[in-house]
Amino acid sequence: MANTVKLNIDGIDVSIDAGKTVLDAAKKLNIHIPTLCYHEDLCVAGNCRVCVVEQEGVKNLVASCAMPAQDGMVIHTNTHKVRNARRHVVELLLSEHNADCTKCYKNTRCELQDLAGEMVINEHMFLDLVPDKNYTIDMLSPAIIKDDSKCIRCQRCVRTCQELQHVSALGVAYKGEHMKISTFFEHSMYDVVCTNCGQCVIRCPTGALIEKNYLDDVWDAIYDEDKHVVVQTAPATRIALGEDLGMEAGSIVTGKMAAALRRLGFDSVLDTDFTADLTIMEEGTELLTRLKRALVDKDPTVKLPMTTSCSPGWIKFIEHMYPEYLENVSTCKSPQQMFGALAKTYYAQKKGIDPSKIVSVSIMPCTAKKFEANRPEMRDSGFQDVDMGLTTRELAVMIKQAGINFKELPDEKFDNLMGESSGAGVIFGATGGVMEAALRTVYEIVTGREVPFENLKITPVRGMEGVKEAAVKIENVLPAWSFLEGVELKTVVAHGLTNADKVMQAVKNGTADWHFIEIMACPGGCLGGGGQPIPTTPEIRKKRAEAIYREDEGMAIRKSHENPEIQQIYKEFLGEPLSDKSHWLLHTHYNARKRV
């Protein structure tokens, strides 16, 4: 039994587990204490000082986020002293902050602005320090803009980059008045180890770290009569978009999203889930091929374990951190890029549209997808395969801009040709989903039977544990796959790059015997991606995951290889998985990058 402590906050007694903070205890009583540097996913910093409260018997105020709850404590959260201090702290932050709110991307979605609003701040109490600061705006990256003039030095981004992502592209530099959040030698985010995962973006309380938005480019394309604008939507967008449009976390809005996209004026509303299914066909076959080369041909050059390649944050991470393992990465492009390559080839042919007139837009839960779309490797259609990658948040903005009442929209379907998908494609949006989808198909290809889990739910790879291992024994195989008889297929799933690093360390140290590794850069997988609605918290990630699995269970088709449009594309265009055409359009390889 956990020890509990009793304390009193604002005259109310409360018991809470030992080790919890005063802030936790106040939350339990539904007493709201404002915070800025605090974030549930991160270690406690206690540096913004907005959450200070008064503790009886203690001369100075205490930061409630950092103060352990202790027996007999008497806390007051709303005294004159507390109010003055909080007011001063917010005023001080504003004096260092470029508060040109109407011209800020985060206008109305900014925690500092909310707090200033709550305190009814009319004019500066202190001198404006901004004119004397040499602030930098880094706009070089195609994914993330870092605007130091908006930064309040809460260090959420730094803690995210170090603790959750093990990347440390961002750190704290200098001290005193010059203290700032900085990359190595203040290089652009584009020139350093940043994976563009955007986890800093979803935790930044202000407009200091934002995605580079392509709203105007997309509107321009839509309004251009000469262009045929196709849009694809990633699996994790449909269970999160609603949050930015006044709906509860965990709402499934697939049908409304399709309807909204059509009303926005996209010429064809298609689905990344289709290429998620296609990825399973290609990647599953690639895994089986690698296994055959290893087990039958005893080919010493074959690289195992094989890792997934869907997450562009993960790809850039391995390019920087473990370039010696790049050949272990599946050669499959991500579903976004497979879609892009097919949109300007297969789709264009089928529809009889000049591919140079096609504008390919993606809606992604991700900021790294913006970087990925701009990669030089991603032009196999003869054009840039994906022209603009938008985040879930940007789509919400477009829907609002167009005056669409999202909640009241009817459910509509995706357009055909590249709009059909299976439940396996949907679960790509959750950590473990690619593994589960792959196992559903691979197991069935090899044995002719469904994977031996109730209702196809491969529970060992589900859930929010950072590193999840699962083994599937393959028995009674079809004759063609006899070499796999009795093999125990060992897999591991990691999400968040710190967990990815743990897995790669195990691979590097030779302490692991996995065959297949799924890695997603973001905690929770794509559903917790850097392009998702803000806030994203552990609680919200859980709700989104539940929604994804609900969506899967509600689908008529649950396995990628049973998707009729997948069967059609192989019959009419690609031939078979890993065909020459597949290789040309759907596969690629990546190169080492400096760890600067």
Partner: protein
Amino acid sequence: MRVKRILQEKEAVIQSSVDLTLIDPLIEKYKNKKGNLIPILQGTQDVYGYLPKETFIKISEQTGLKLSEMYGVATFYTQFRLNPVGRYIVKVCHGTACHVQNATAISEAVEDALGIKDGETTEDRLFTLESVACLGCCSLAPVMMIGDETYAKLTGNKAVKIVKEIKIKESN
């Protein structure tokens, strides 16, 4: 607001102009020790007089220390320098005792004599001028330090004379 916009890529290539093997023994010594960063940076600065950018990269590669964290540490402590310095570092104390006894006049006199501003290095790489916090010689105020030598109860003239003497000694 003065805002610098980074729109164009910087020179990505880092030309190595220093002999990186000089810090091999240092890295070897501290490689597997916990909390090794500050001694490594101090040792590196002892070798080069400052912390060349490429040494960060080398140290990072060999120790696994993260570059942004190293940069954060190097910029936190005032004794670390990211630019080459002169052979003599003239530290003019601006602690309170010195300040109220007109340390500013000393800094200004040296600035005039050397033709550089605070924090700068002379073209001949002989002198770097720095204003520093209290050196702990308050009873001798105002003071400056050159190398390990402390010069006490200065005036602007005295300070300039000391600097000029070094210059003459060096030119011989």
